[in-house]
């Protein structure tokens, strides 16, 4: 599936929820199901700055596709990064660089997240894209 298709699938899933409670419960569930990052990658280098909780992201190439694994010590944050990993992992670096992130607004995350959290979300997206840029250069 393309990034766009995955994002639409996520929007569909979130549209089933009536209120913030259900939305958060789903994110918590997603957080719990996120494949954990290998312990050796939970290093300070892989920490994303700008989040009140700790978020680690690791990226590696599999052929011409970029794989992300991630973890956080806070479960809601983990749910958010799980959504981002689902949307961007196993895609070509150039597609990740080109992808827009409006789906975050559409699933009602941005407006429901506190300002510090929103900054964390922005930092997470920025970090995933930075990895894509770095590996794109490597692929060339």
């Amino acid at each position: 599936m393309t990034i766009k298709e995955i994002q639409e699938e996520i929007i569909d899933e979130f549209s089933m929820f009536d209120d913030w409670m259900q939305r958060y419960e789903y994110m918590i569930e997603l957080g719990k199901s996120l494949p954990l990052i290998a312990e050796q990658y939970k290093t300070d280098d892989n920490l994303i700055k700008g989040c009140q909780s700790k978020v680690w992201v690791h990226a590696e190439l599999d052929g011409d596709k970029l794989l992300f694994t991630a973890d956080s010590d806070a479960i809601i944050t983990k749910g958010i990064i799980a959504i981002l990993v689902r949307a961007f992992s196993n895609q070509k670096p150039q597609d990740i660089i080109d992808a827009d992130v409006e789906f975050i607004d559409e699933i009602g995350l941005k407006e429901h997240l506190s300002p510090t959290r929103a900054n964390g979300l922005v930092s997470m997206i920025k970090q995933l894209k930075l990895y894509a840029v770095a590996y794109q250069t490597q692929l060339k």
Binding site: K54, A74, S114
Partner: protein, 408 residues
Amino acid sequence: MIETTLDIQAIRKDFPILQREVNGKPLVYLDNAATSQTPQQVIDVIVDYYKRYNANIHRGVHTLSQEATDAYEAARQKIQKHFNIAHSREVIFTSGTTHGINLVASGSTSFLKEGDEILVSAMEHHSNIVPWQMLCGRTGATLKVVPMNLEGELVMEEYHNLLSDKTKLVFCNHVSNALGTINPIEEIIEAAHKVGAAVLIDGAQAAAHIKADLQALDVDFYTVSAHKMCGPTGVGMLYGKEEWLKKLPPYQGGGEMIAEVTFEKTTYADLPHKFEAGTPNICGGIAFGAALDYMNSISFDAIAQYEDELVRYATEQLLAIDGLKIYGTATHKTSVISFNIEGVHPYDIGTIVDKLGIAVRTGHHCAQPIMDFYQIPGTVRASFSFYNTKEEVDKLVEGVTRARNMLL
């Protein structure tokens, strides 16, 4: 019911912000240790200043300037009276506690040398750690830390051991912002003076709960922020004993702080103006005075009595939640409850209860050394004021329980 002589519902009507809703729910404001809310009486003073007599002070001969100067200096006298300070020239208006600390830290450069020692407590806010580290960097003095125990109380035996004739300055908060501990500052000040050290007490967290008598304390410096005690942000006061304030060099150069200026030489103004360069926060200073009037009209004794009861009730109710642990269980503490639930990140709890209209603080509360001490990433902190109610405590407990059930 919580026993009190205060009419809490009438008091709540003084605070317009308490009437608002957050996320469709009535606001439950429990972040008072970060900033307190502002009563209409203080808001009116701010509006009146800008509507009627906004002018620059101390220099103008016109009526508005005179009126503004009179109101600003009257506020200084209110602060003097409130804290029982000997002279109004010992009251320096600042932008807040951090400014006051930096003013003293910066000035202390002139009389510290290598080998001198500075003591700080283990439970300081970053604003009472970093300026002293910077001071040590400039002078070669050494920073020593007075440890705390698991209850969040200073180990006073260690404090007395650390004191020596090398100790030149001692810094400690009156009340810890992260734990609520009331520190034994009387003992700290007396012992420091015996070895000839000066003491600065950070009164930011104490100011809304304890009316400090600075002459009785015999403290050398004491600093507070207005916004923690129903006043506006961006204004505070530094008290310094006259002998110390004369000894310290000016902090910033500019207008207001000079006596005479030529390109060859400047002579500085007398106290307190020597430390008040530039146009100050005039409206803020006047509103600070109004905030003191407001709080005194309620009575600090009644406030302390009510808050003690409220915190006792909240502690009891919160501890009934499975897996909840409170950090900071000192015998003497004010209205701060810092807690975590086993297996849950404080940030997740803060996020969920915000959805329920409840404002608490999460994180390290600008006191990372305390979090390192307990080996936790942070806590959830609920901090109470005299306008909070038993019903709000119940909502907090309900919200935290709900968050726990969602997150575990």
